[in-house]
Symmetry: C2
Subunit: 139 residues, 2 copies
């Protein structure tokens, strides 16, 4: 996703290219990107010169969305899930006092995850087209 953010605005990027840049197996990326597409974070264009593009500018994509798409609902424990659908109330819930701990941990995770966007992780994009408004995102 960071690679896609890097290429944002310059047309679709192929998995083969990203695989080379990150050296990860192409076949693996293929599998991952399915989830991203289903989550509506990327769109694909098939055929030659095809590839994937972000559907929104990097600054508008929270890391929480990315991780939820890739790894499912955020839940340090199955009884403290992000997604109310998957929140299986454990059979121990009556006596279990630990749940609130996990809920707090989860909230801490999700809030930091949702407070960072792809733009925060995308490379500084040094020496871009124009220089003048360069120092917006100082590292």
């Amino acid at each position: 996703m960071v690679q896609l953010a890097r290429h944002y605005g310059t047309g679709p990027a192929s998995l083969a290219g990203i695989a080379a840049e990150e050296d990860l197996p192409r076949a693996y990326l293929e599998q991952l990107v399915v989830n991203l597409r289903e989550a509506g974070l990327v769109v694909s264009t098939r055929g030659a010169h095809g590839g994937y593009e972000l559907t929104r500018p990097p600054a508008a994509i929270a890391m929480g969305e990315v991780l939820r798409a890739l790894e499912g609902p955020i839940a340090p424990m199955f009884c403290a899930s992000d997604d109310p659908e998957h929140a299986t109330t454990c059979d121990r819930s009556s006596r279990c006092t630990v749940n609130i701990l996990w809920v707090r941990v989860r909230d801490a995770i999700t809030s930091t995850l949702d407070s960072m966007t792809l733009a925060d992780l995308a490379p500084p994009r040094v020496v871009a087209l124009d220089d003048q408004e360069g120092a917006l995102i100082a590292t």
Copy 2:
């Protein structure tokens, strides 16, 4: 550990007892408690009427300590570990911009974990010896 906190001050509690209360296999608890002992969170007294006791009052044991003892250093990713010993710098570190995300997530986790103590999770201890100062910790 919550069970041990509950019994704090009333002598050692046997694993068999805790196993019954939490219905977990005794043999499994045995394995877990080894780590707690090595971390200095509990002490054992062997023989009949033996068992385990917390070495400190529940309010002085942060949940972070407990989890670090049980599950090792806190690290959402191997490249963002709590413990500098285990912080294996990944071979990708030069190009990887995602690390700071994991570091922030880890800090969020550790700070919420260290901000809660066993006393926070220990049962309200309803109907204790004396009634008068009962409403200290309202659920």
